[in-house]
């Protein structure tokens, strides 16, 4: 693996002007932390982060990098000194090693001092390969090997292989949210979407023992362990929700139970978000999926908070959500059959168009404020972190 590097291409952060340095530092930190156990050397520059592989562990390192947000793509590159003869030899060696017959050379220069223009460099290297590899041909449209050459001020980097990254922003750059996590299929996907966007996720789960099973907490921990691939430590807080749920059941007519329950949950999430210094609440709601997720319901439920509520899955359909949950390995965990707070109340005719004045009327029937305070004061906190 001598002279082999991985070159990390920045995601959308390259458009970020003055904040660029901060973004790069954050991504570099995230990469170093994620690759700690792989014994690599890393170096960040204005345009790329370079990762030097000390051991023969390319596949593992690339696969780990592909779970880190803020990376557009990863190239496997070989380094050459800025001398034309050595550059030609390196290019030839790489093409020969991979037994490539049709190729294309694509050079980029960030260093003006190099004598040849990009076009001249493409032609020179291409000629050299044509002269030295029997039967080789240039194919600009569909080549077997696309040789990329990047000229920087200290060296040239040549690459034939790229790996797609997760895209988005480096985790932590875009603040923190409190995500309402039920354990179903949607909320873990919402967590993934937020993390991919560089938003750190803290989770809030509503538990109603004995109506809900204690096994749900194990299930949540299993889900979050999968999400640890993308965010290495995740805080999970569990809200004791039984008393509120019982009061709702006592005081609210059946069709309104879910609406009022969601309003209580959002009130609690707002308080927790404030305490945790989160900038927003997030949910896995998808518009129209169930009665409490119609736009009418969303509006009535949203009314209880002035915190922004992020709904990354709002416009996605169920099948696309399931596809992502399978990709991030949470699907099989999510479908384990346990009750959660949302499945206890199964009104025969839940309100799909709840009215705000009705909600307020029912909420006057019980002292929810002190129950909310009691719930928020008795949160249980668990940290789920990846082992490396």
């Amino acid at each position: 693996m001598n002279d082999s590097y991985l070159m990390v291409h920045y995601g959308e952060l390259s458009t970020k002007g003055d904040n660029r340095k901060l973004f790069i530092r954050c991504l570099h930190q995230n990469i170093r932390r994620a690759l700690k156990k792989y014994e690599v050397e890393t170096k960040s520059t204005r345009d790329h982060i370079y990762i030097y592989l000390v051991k023969d562990n390319l596949d593992e390192v690339v696969s780990r990098l592909q779970d880190i947000s803020g990376i557009q793509k990863i190239s496997l590159v070989e380094k050459s000194p800025l001398e034309l003869d050595k550059l030609k030899e390196k290019a030839l060696e790489m093409i020969k090693r991979e037994n490539i017959k049709t190729f294309k050379v694509d050079s980029h220069k960030s260093e003006r001092a190099f004598a040849l223009s990009s076009y001249e460099l493409n032609c020179t290297i291409g000629d050299y390969i044509l002269d030295n590899v029997n039967g080789s041909k240039v194919d600009l449209h569909n080549p077997e090997g696309k040789l990329k050459i990047l000229i920087t001020d200290e060296a040239a980097y040549l690459s034939l292989h790229n790996y797609p990254g997760l895209g988005g922003y480096p985790l932590g750059m875009n603040g923190k949210v409190t995500l309402m996590l039920s354990g179903g299929i949607d909320s873990p996907v919402a967590a993934y979407s937020l993390i991919r966007r560089g938003i750190k996720v803290e989770c809030l789960h509503f538990a109603s023992p004995p109506y809900t099973s204690a096994s749900v907490i194990d299930k949540l921990q299993d889900i979050l362990k999968e999400l640890n691939e993308f965010q290495m430590d995740i805080k999970l807080q569990i809200v004791p929700f039984t008393k509120l749920q019982e009061e709702i059941y006592e005081c609210v007519p059946e069709p309104y139970c879910i609406t009022i329950m969601r309003r209580m949950m959002v009130r609690i999430a707002t308080e927790v978000a404030k305490r945790n210094k989160s900038l927003a609440i997030a949910t896995g709601e998808s518009i129209g999926q169930v009665a409490s997720q119609t736009l009418e319901s969303v509006q009535v439920i949203n009314e209880v908070t002035n915190f922004p509520i992020l709904r990354p899955l709002a416009t996605m359909d169920k099948l696309s959500i399931i596809d992502i949950s399978k990709k991030i390995n949470t699907y099989e965990i999510s479908i384990r059959p346990y009750e959660d707070c949302c499945t206890i109340f199964k009104p025969r005719r839940p309100k799909t168009k709840p009215r705000l004045d009705e909600c307020k009327k029912y909420e006057e029937k019980f002292d929810y404020a002190s129950l909310i305070e009691e719930a928020v004061d008795n949160l249980e906190t668990i940290y789920i972190a990846s082992e490396d």
Binding site: P210, Y211, S213, P337, Y338, E339
Partner: protein, 377 residues
């Protein structure tokens, strides 16, 4: 923890665990090996085999093979017998109250292999309807499989009458799943052509079961290979588990002799306490196994109460884990003619020789509190 779920499984007896460890440590040889060390294991295996047969008082005409579970033993009977004797007839009789390890293999025999299966209905008390059984019998019946003690209700089936009726049909074999009966009630084991049981329910280790059968009975084997266990169950013998089963059975049978009265007293005490709670009904009867008591909740959801008890450190069981995809009902209670509410909300309390009156008191206290506190959400 207060453990009242001994029908699900029990802790291994110290003596059984010790036997298990010792055999694994000092006699790990393969009983099929030809050297002295294999031979030592073989001796232990045979000691366990004859030991169990003689504890059950069936040593003359019967044989025993060790399996991985009662489920495996049941499968061997329900598949191995019809395959072997299909020239005699194609009808099998079982009851509506059997364990899934009986019902599901028989469904396969019906759906995949074209055998006819008839189901004897249950009476209100959970025992099979003997008249119905009698009228279902016929010359084309090759196998009757009816359990000894029902695992949900503790109802004891009229085994000697069943045996007597079955014996009128010389082409038919009588098998009984005695998993909840063995070591729990007194039985004449010679009345069966075959019976199966599991080790971990009587203080042995998990992953071990037995099939006892009259030597005249032949089977098509399910596992072919090295021809262990008389060619009926290939696979290297687990001598340690088999020996632990022997030790556990010995222990449990002597406990039964010594403490039977204590168990009946405990059961009667439990009944008297349960009868004071208005919102439950008792599905079991005092004629059934004193180790098992089934109740149904008339107002609350059983899965919620079981979860609530679990949160207080008390283990009992319901039909199955709570599920958001429709609550399952107990088919046994349905077959006994219980209401849908009762069949959907049963709780099974199963005790052992080590259960105390104090434990039952705590259970009753917590149950009563939970029934009052929890809403019928």
């Amino acid at each position: 923890m207060i453990y009242l779920d001994y029908c699900a499984t029990s802790a291994p007896f110290e003596s059984a665990l010790e036997a298990y460890t010792n055999v694994n440590k000092f006699h790990f040889g393969n009983p099929s090996s030809l050297h002295f060390y294999g031979y030592e294991s073989k001796k232990l295996l045979e000691e366990a085999r004859t030991g169990i047969l003689s504890l059950l008082n069936v040593s003359k005409e019967d044989n025993l093979i060790f399996t991985s579970s009662a489920t495996e033993a049941n499968n061997l009977v329900l598949k191995g017998i019809p395959f072997k004797y299909k020239n005699r007839g194609n009808r099998i009789i079982t009851s509506k109250g059997e364990h899934p390890s009986i019902l599901n293999p028989l469904l396969q025999m019906k759906d995949l292999f074209g055998f006819k299966v008839d189901y004897v209905p249950l009476k209100e008390d959970g025992e099979i309807d003997l008249d119905a059984f009698s009228s279902l019998m016929g010359d084309d019946v090759i196998l009757v499989s009816i359990m000894g003690v029902n695992n949900e209700t503790g109802a004891i089936n009229p085994l000697s009458s069943i045996s007597r009726i079955a014996k009128k049909y010389p082409k038919c074999f009588f098998h009984s799943d005695l998993t909840q009966a063995i070591g729990k009630i007194d039985l004449d084991y010679s009345m069966f052509d075959m019976f199966s049981f599991s080790s971990h329910k009587i203080g042995g280790v998990k992953g071990s079961g037995c099939l006892v059968y009259k030597k005249k009975v032949q089977f098509v084997s399910l596992l072919s290979g090295g021809e262990q266990e008389y060619g009926l169950r290939s696979g290297t013998n687990d001598v340690a588990s088999s020996y632990a089963t022997y030790v556990a059975l010995k222990t449990t049978m002597s406990l039964l002799k010594e403490k039977k009265g204590h168990i009946v007293e405990l059961r009667d005490y439990l009944y008297s306490k349960l009868e004071e709670i208005p919102s439950i009904s008792i599905n079991s009867t005092k004629r059934g196994s004193p180790f098992v008591t089934s109740i149904s909740l008339e107002k609350n959801k059983a899965s919620v109460i079981v979860e609530g008890l679990s949160n207080k450190g008390i283990c009992v069981s319901s039909v199955s884990a709570c599920s958001s995809k429709g609550e399952p009902a107990s088919y046994v209670l349905e077959a006994m003619g219980k209401t849908s509410k009762q069949a959907h909300n049963p709780i099974r309390i199963s005790i052992s020789f080590s259960t105390t009156k104090e434990e039952l008191d705590t259970f009753i206290l917590e149950l009563t509190a939970l029934l009052k506190e929890t809403k019928n959400i």
